[in-house]
Symmetry: C2
Subunit: 151 residues, 2 copies
Amino acid sequence: MNRIILITLFVFSTCQFSFSQTFEGDKKEIEKIVENIESFSKYYTSGDYDALANAYCKEATILPPGADIIKGREAIKKRWILPSGVNVPYHKITPIEIKIIDNYAYDIGYYEGKTIRKDKSEVSWKGKYLIVWKKEDGDWKIYSDAWNKIN
Amino acid sequence: MNRIILITLFVFSTCQFSFSQTFEGDKKEIEKIVENIESFSKYYTSGDYDALANAYCKEATILPPGADIIKGREAIKKRWILPSGVNVPYHKITPIEIKIIDNYAYDIGYYEGKTIRKDKSEVSWKGKYLIVWKKEDGDWKIYSDAWNKIN
């Protein structure tokens, strides 16, 4: 029933570097995690903070740069809410390695985005992340999420 | 044979905050991970970079702030080597949550340390981390390691 797959895709970016994607685990479960990764960006760019918070486990932790560990869905939601007049019209997550182990999975990858500030100035950013996913109530949710910038 | 344990210790620091430690998994395996965490600090403060590199899986990744993802034991070793005349006499890791899932474990916690620069000036630092451990050849090694500072 559960087909265990190992997918390695070689992705050649438009820039000077190439990287590979390695996904290991049940095909449908991997697809669900990848779908949830894409949804995360949609929730963030559309300012749907309830859906964004719901992407995390109730007892999740996030490790944002320059802050203490933030624990719990409500506290995490607060952390993501952008100040009035600020928005993030572009956000993209590119997982490079996902492996499912039982009801958990680790996920290593890159994120990038663009912020438009109150004064309409734009800033682009790029970083990397390590996420631990947990299957909770039949859906994959983020259990722990650490990230930091590349430059 | 394998006693599954859930240890929650309440640790009261000398500062203003308290935190709990939650360790979940086979008691002996948890003890081994905690031992390896302590050894990591010893290797770093004593400049034993071979042992430090060996704390990581061969195919490990690290996600240091301000740099790209670094993959592989040799590249990771290079990243840890301090410049001549610089040393880290103090390094401490405090895990707050460890959970073993099969041959993997996640580990969330704090690190702190002190660097003495070439000019003998000192700088103290503190941050947090998310680690994925993997049991490889009978020992627990770091498979992926992301961290960033608190302030």
